[in-house]
Symmetry: C2
Subunit: 332 residues, 2 copies
């Protein structure tokens, strides 16, 4: 017996569990050059919402009736590939399936003795590399500058803020729960944090905690929070467009204040990116992140769901802002 979670129908607006279906399929047969794999830790990420829609984006859409796929750390149950043996842990872009096969070339070994396996889906994986390259390559934060990050308590945001601190910046986070604000300030050393759900005037609150204006804005959320931050930018500011989670479930064209006049007046730069643009430099990013994790300069945390069938629920929780740090699902 084997289970798979497929896209049942495309969501309109916020995804619900009814967009997914758990189906029973037969056990896979392993062929030469392949691995038989069981997931241990499965990642749910905001970008996957884009793949649930039919619209053209930077990753191809999921197909109806076919499994959802994403970042997975899996254990090798059986190997017919010379580079792997049973018991190895590997990472790759794999289907949401209890047992599955993959080519050896699609899997990369990960070492659970260096860091928890979940870290390879977080700070030492896609979210960590996203924070590293977006902040440093586009944002170019300079010592003494003010860096604001939205979605600050999420998988990417907590890394952005800590790397900015390491670079000597004043760091302000925007998040949606008092517990997140407390975590950013007390556990991660952010200079200030704003709860956008209880703060009625985000621009005013930012002006108070960013008395010298905003030099770098790392944007994970978009929408009105970004309007407020952009109203506070300095001349020469850099705005990194990493995510727009507040708009991913929009059912009509989102509208807001035009930002080009501000971009012009401030000689500001805005740059969108996807982490795979930096694929050739992943070893550099991984090395830096691993060193900071090893030295204790970079802290990380997960919000963990348990059980394969919780995957849809965990994914939906992303859009409810329920996660502190990386949202993962541990599979028995």
């Amino acid at each position: 017996m084997n289970k798979q979670i497929v896209l049942k129908k495309r969501p309109i607006g916020v995804p619900t569990v009814s967009n997914f279906e758990v189906i029973e399929i037969s056990a896979p047969t392993i062929r030469e050059g392949e691995l038989l794999l069981k997931p241990k830790v499965v990642s749910v990420d905001p970008y996957m919402r884009g793949r649930m829609s039919d619209a053209k984006s930077y990753v191809a859409p999921f197909e109806i009736g076919k499994p959802i796929a994403g970042g997975v750390v899996a254990e090798v149950v059986e190997s017919k590939h010379p580079d792997f043996k049973a018991g190895d842990n590997v990472i790759g872009s794999f289907p949401w399936q209890e047992v599955f096969t993959a080519k050896g070339s699609e899997a990369s070994k990960v070492d659970g003795s260096i860091a928890p396996l979940s870290y390879y889906l977080g700070i030492l994986g896609m979210p960590g590399l996203t924070a590293y390259f977006g902040l440093l390559d586009i944002g170019k934060p300079q010592k003494g500058e003010t860096v604001v990050v939205s979605g600050a308590a999420g998988a990417v945001g907590i890394v952005v803020g800590q790397i900015a601190r390491i670079h000597g910046c004043r760091v302000v986070g925007i998040a949606g729960e008092q517990s997140k604000v407390d975590y950013l300030m007390n556990d991660l050393g952010f200079d200030a944090a704003i709860n956008y759900k209880t703060e009625s005037n985000i621009a005013g609150a930012l002006a108070t905690v960013c008395p010298d204006g905003v030099d770098v804005y790392f944007d994970n959320v978009g929408g009105e929070i970004s309007d407020a931050v952009i109203s506070q930018i300095n001349k020469g500011a850099r705005i990194i467009i990493c995510g727009q989670i507040s708009l991913y479930n929009a059912t009509s064209q989102p509208v807001g204040p035009r930002i080009q006049p501000t971009i012009l007046k401030k000689s500001a730069l805005m740059q969108g990116f996807i982490v795979s643009n930096y694929a050739s430099r992943f070893p550099e990013g991984f090395k830096a992140l691993a060193e900071w994790v090893g030295s204790g300069q970079l802290k990380y945390t997960n919000t963990t769901y348990h059980g394969f069938e919780k995957l849809p629920e965990a994914f939906i929780a992303l859009f409810e802002g329920k996660n502190l740090g990386k949202l993962i699902v541990e599979v028995k």
Copy 2:
């Protein structure tokens, strides 16, 4: 007798002649180190609209009752500065005044034998340098790429398009008169041009004339024209925010489709700038522009008003899109 044109009251919305006043003042007295100057060619530029408002921008506001000031080529009537003599032509940021004095340090000599004096306010001056640095430094156009420029028949736009052609790009202009469209295609060699006033579906028209999408967008106008262009950008596109003339007279916050999701999906870059950011590289830009003008690779044209008191009318004409090329006022 001497005349000066002052800001009478700040415009709300589109400026009118009632925002200006011609007043009589006494003749100036020249002191040691100064020049006595008479304007020959006076520049009117869209950025001056920003200075008529009280709002903070990249240049300080004009003061009520004080003269408007901007780019002027003037003749030295009398010199008490060792570097200048009567009959020299100089350029500087000078008041709208029939006779005025300036320090020698505020004036730079220009050579009417190299190019018409008006060119120092256009292709060899601020608009030309704006086109040069914005397109090449931010846009980085590559051979074979498609470059779209809005305000294409204006002082900056006609230079942008021709430099892009020199760099081997496909060039598409957007302008607001059939005569401008004809000029861009027949006289300047643009590959295509769109009349946004008669074209009901600008995005569709762009898709037709940019079959490979848009790699570089040099934006002088903003608003709905920019929405249409941004809908057609390619992965890795560069958007240069040089001007937003369609929004300068707005009396409330301009609103439009949010662009960040497109910037994200396309890993696009958007950068605002003002030409003075490149002041240290002006000699490089001037040299390149002068060579292209000399070799005939860069053509230029003016729309000329005649007479000192026509200055307000000429300035207002900018916002009516009446000018082909640089709008200047020749003063007897």
